[in-house]
């Protein structure tokens, strides 16, 4: 049983985004989700630096450095897109107008607390950016991350030890092993990587999990059956 590749994880998230929904993909791994969105999904991507209906990155040599995403990478504008200033952009975010924000995370707690901006390392300057506004404002906050740290430590925890981004906001976690919903009675496993048992997943998860009905099966390519 091999954990999902980055591509497969991105594909799995992409396939779950609501049709015609307004979605912000956080910087880092979440941005990669855009590459796996089916064209017929109708998903409209927002980037907090002031653009709605983000299109794919332009061909090499065609970059316009006045047309970038929140990760400061060149993008394009889809037909029907628009530009606006940061105050309107963050009004969209904080005001609950986005259907889903997909964010990376260092840790997520069983209560949906999110820690994704700092590991508390005081050696380098901290940066918060717009992730915190997304975490507070979008209708649904999804996290995508590796299930454990490089050292094998769980990232889904009873209580975050890293500085929080926001409390009680995450509703769904996509990892390279599973899809977990954070619901009233705890962490509910909706889908499991093919060949992985709930018991094995529990071993790398620092908070009790339970199955939501019969969990669906995640294939190696990120599709869920």
């Amino acid at each position: 049983m091999i954990p999902l590749s980055r591509d497969a994880l991105a594909r799995m998230v992409a396939l779950h985004l609501p049709s015609e929904g307004f979605v912000n993909l956080g910087i880092g791994a979440p941005t990669h989700v855009a590459d796996f969105l089916p064209t017929e999904s109708g998903v409209i991507l927002h980037s907090e630096n002031g653009i709605l209906n983000v299109g794919p990155k332009p061909a090499v040599g065609q970059e316009d450095w006045d047309l970038i995403n929140a990760g400061k990478m060149p993008i394009s504008l889809r037909t029907g897109g628009s530009y606006f200033d940061s105050s309107l952009s963050f009004a969209m975010m904080r005001g609950g107008h986005l259907d889903v924000a997909v964010l990376g995370a260092f840790q997520v707690s069983k209560d949906g607390d999110l820690a994704n901006w700092s590991t508390g390392d005081n050696g380098s300057p901290p940066g918060i950016g717009g992730a915190i506004d997304l975490a507070v404002g979008a209708k649904s906050i999804w996290v995508m991350m590796d299930h454990t740290t490089k050292e094998g430590q769980p990232r889904i925890v009873e209580r975050c030890v890293y500085p929080l981004t926001a409390r009680n906001v995450v509703t769904r976690i996509f990892t390279n092993l599973t899809i977990i919903d954070i619901v009233e009675d705890g962490l509910a496993v909706r889908a499991l990587l093919e060949g992985l048992s709930i018991e094995a997943l529990q071993e790398v998860t620092d908070s009790p999990i339970h199955a939501l009905g019969a969990p669906r099966i995640i294939r190696q390519d990120g599709s869920v059956v």
Partner: protein, 220 residues
């Protein structure tokens, strides 16, 4: 692809219910979605809370709502020169919350932008401060003003594309652009519906994320 075009004003107001809070764009007649005014009347809803800069003149406008007595309360900056409203007001059958115009639009903006309120210098030392929390910052006193949201926001745009991106015409933009951010359902009456790509992305005032329904005004 997303398409928020509905066939007429009736479809634009679908779902409105007794007791709803409704924002109506416009400053005078400019920006007032006139088709919506009539369509709401036709639904027979009552006890509305109306959030609007004005309360109608004696014309074919929001005065119709007061004549039909479907407004329980109005949140408004300038209800003068509104004959039907004035009659209801004097009879005590409609409640008025008078709000300075800039405070009104800023409260609506706060609602749409997810803020819990703002500190305003406007009204300090006047009756507009009555009953409101005072907050001192540095050596200056401010009034805490609270956000406004509504069940429905109805505004008048100039052009909209089928995705729901909207432009406005001249001073008809007024409160419309902000109200379009603060309704749970936002419907825009426009002069014309166009295809995606026909509006300049730099000149779209209300991006489609805020808009749920669009319809073209019928020729009068």
């Amino acid at each position: 692809m997303r398409n928020v075009v509905v066939k007429d004003a009736g479809a634009a107001v679908e779902g409105i219910q007794d007791g709803n809070a409704v924002m109506m764009g416009g400053f005078g007649g400019a920006g007032l979605p006139l088709g919506v005014v009539r369509a709401v009347l036709d639904t027979g809803v009552r006890n509305l809370t109306l959030i609007s800069n004005n309360a109608g003149s004696t014309e074919d406008d929001l005065s119709l709502w007061f004549e039909a007595k479907i407004v329980r309360k109005i949140v408004c900056s300038y209800p003068r020169a509104a004959k039907q409203f004035a009659e209801q007001y004097r009879a005590g059958t409609v409640e008025l919350e008078l709000v300075p115009q800039g405070t009104l639009v800023e409260r609506i903006r706060a609602g749409g932008a997810g803020l819990g309120g703002f500190l305003s210098p406007v009204g300090v030392g006047t009756v507009f401060a009555d009953g409101k929390q005072k907050i001192v910052v540095g050596d200056r006193e401010f009034i805490l003003e609270l956000p406004l949201r509504a069940d429905y926001s109805f505004v008048k745009g100039h052009l909209a594309d089928t995705l729901g991106n909207v432009t406005y015409n001249k001073t008809a933009r007024n409160h419309c652009a902000v109200m379009a951010t603060a309704g749970r359902t936002v419907a825009v009456e426009v002069d014309r519906v166009v295809e995606p790509g026909e509006l300049d992305p730099e000149a779209i005032v209300t991006p489609c994320i805020f808009v749920d329904r669009v319809f073209a005004r019928s020729p009068r």
